[in-house]
Symmetry: C2
């Protein structure tokens, strides 16, 4: 940075692709105007332009035909509401090709105003009784098409096998095969009975993604059924919907699922995954963030996964650290190796590869043991 | 299509880039699984797989190294809720590179269940008193930084000059320079007074984008101030938030703004603009949809604009036609030419280029006249 940023300015970095330095500089100036005053030069008075236009802080070469433009924005334009912060950081310019949001530093007053995780890593450990130094294991119940009874039986097996969190698959909503209330009641009861039998503290996080005007009913119902957390798809429902849950009266941890995030490494547009899942999901209130692990079905590089984990756990204003949840086709057999790499403040999410095992209870037990030992001294082979 | 689709299946077409036919076919099969059962082969019973997996209908070459894969999905998985439809059409696969959603045909029961436009083109004509055959003119009041009084003065000038709709810029939210209530009260009053003076029926659509948990208050306040419509940013707030407004009790037209849509032509990923703005925004309840016009600041091709307009106006189940609103740096002087091309069922949106005029009232009057005549016999030069 050429100048120190006042902490009340939002600082966004855009990667501008397929341009030379002149074109990148011109684009940066255009972005600074587009995202703030959005009127041609001469419409606003010079002092308004000076006060309110985005300020191009620097334009530096990122690689051969790409430049990183860093632009800061005044609080007078961004305010502290989540949606306006996103609107200024990546609103209209999301419609331009060759403009990618690769970094975002929120202004201090916004960090103060946004809810962040209500539980965070420490709260999830307390909820599930997993001591510091040991990773957590979560499992997804699925597929769609199974009845509430069948899903409850799966959940019971997972809970008895030692999973710390059982979550609904993000594709389970309110289908006739397992309607929301019937499913939540059956699964919550199955998990509670397993806990009673084992003395464990497995938590069940139903998927509350669905119509926003009935969301409160699903949150209320989840609490009444005994859940201490829920699964939310923020990029589908809207990030501010998650913010409202986190900032609202329901005492529920939030496991955020990445579906419809439209984010992936190596694109020329969109929001870099670490910014969306590592920064925005966290400040918007996710206690745990599911992301696409390397080596799974989506071929994301491990560096992206590590960048997301880093942003979820690094100090950020007054906010609790959020739990990284690598997922997306992680082979159960490989889980411990990934945890050794990512460190103990990680929750592994396993779905399909576990469901494939003929002895599901035995496989869950072995996996839970491996997860528990993954970060023990000497395990980082 | 190799087989006729039952109308209760959702049909999505994905453009798969940088692949050969074998890789495209393999990816299509993977998408059909990822978006439905999301478990490896062998976990679900064969009859569940047959009933619930997405069905690859065809894979055809789109151009040299891209193929279009058409996949249909059963209602048993998609249901009729907007978010689950989007989740199945473009959920997890939005995290894969090289997979773009280029077409979407919704199942008939979903079309029936979704609200669609409450007013549509005909309702907006009735509201503003603009006869069929004549395009509409809307103008944005801005920039952020102006006081409520200053914005109200602008709105009064536009209303007196003959604009049919005055809208808040999408960047005007609740900043201290013009807080929401102060602004809405002042602007609504200014527009009402102008209407009283001219006998016109200019409508004012305040921007209600902001925290979802206080949205109802802003809708109530807009109605109390006399507004008959609002400006909404669905891709920021969440498409289902717009759906809830359209399906709810507030009698307000919705002007949808495209910010944060992350859609543009010629990308290898994301949702094609005509699908997002032409189909999804419409079924979710937009009465008018702002999009980036060709020749403006965003360099979208005119074919994309025409495709959006077509989808907004073409017959679609029981739904009203929605009004296309080309915008984004349209020069006032060019407006009539664009309208002649797009046809009379179009609302031009002008912002900055009008604000630059020294005689704002005169310029608005000339523009309103040109818009009114744009599609008259002989104007299609």
């Amino acid at each position: 940075m050429t100048a120190p940023h006042a902490s009340d300015r939002m600082v966004a970095t855009y990667r501008l692709s397929r341009v030379d330095l002149d074109a990148a500089t011109e684009t940066a100036i255009a972005i600074a105007r587009e995202q703030t005053l959005e009127v041609p030069p001469g419409v606003a008075e010079p002092d308004m332009e000076a006060a309110l236009l985005g300020r191009v802080e620097e334009v530096v070469r990122a690689h051969e035909d790409a430049f990183d433009a860093t632009i800061s924005y005044t609080l007078a334009v961004t305010g502290t509401d989540l949606l306006q912060l996103i609107n200024v950081a990546y609103g209209n310019v999301s419609l331009m090709n060759g403009v990618r949001l690769v970094d975002l530093v929120l202004p201090a007053p916004a960090l103060d105003a946004l809810p962040g995780p209500k539980f965070g890593i420490d709260g999830l450990r307390e909820m599930t009784g997993v001591a510091p130094g040991r990773p957590l294991l979560s499992v997804a119940i699925k597929p769609v098409g199974r009845s509430a009874t069948e899903l409850a039986a799966l959940a019971a097996t997972f809970a008895r096998g030692g999973a710390h969190v059982v979550k609904d698959d993000h594709g389970l909503v309110d289908q006739p095969s397992a309607p929301f209330r019937e499913r939540v009641r059956a699964v919550a009861q199955a998990v509670a009975e397993s806990n009673a039998a084992t003395g464990g503290r497995c938590a069940y996080f139903p998927n509350v993604t669905g119509p926003v005007d009935t969301l409160d009913e699903r949150l209320d119902y989840s609490i009444a059924a005994g859940s201490t957390g829920v699964t939310v798809c923020p990029s589908l429902m809207g990030l501010d919907v998650m913010r409202a849950i986190a900032g609202g009266p329901h005492r529920l941890a939030i496991l955020a699922h990445p579906t419809h995030g439209q984010a992936a490494p190596d694109r020329h547009e969109g929001i870099a995954p670490e910014v969306l899942y590592g920064t925005l999901y966290r400040v918007a209130g996710a206690d745990a963030v599911v992301y696409v692990n390397a080596g799974g079905r989506f071929s994301w590089p491990v560096e992206t996964c590590e960048a997301i984990s880093h942003r979820l756990r690094t100090p950020l204003g007054r906010h609790r650290a959020a739990m990284p949840v690598p997922a997306g086709g992680v082979e159960a057999a490989e889980g411990a190796r990934w945890l050794a790499r990512y460190g103990p403040d990680t929750m592994l999410l396993i779905g399909g590869s576990l469901l494939r095992q003929p002895d599901l209870l035995g496989a869950t037990r072995r996996l839970a043991e491996a997860v528990g030992e993954a970060c023990a001294s000497g395990a980082r082979a």
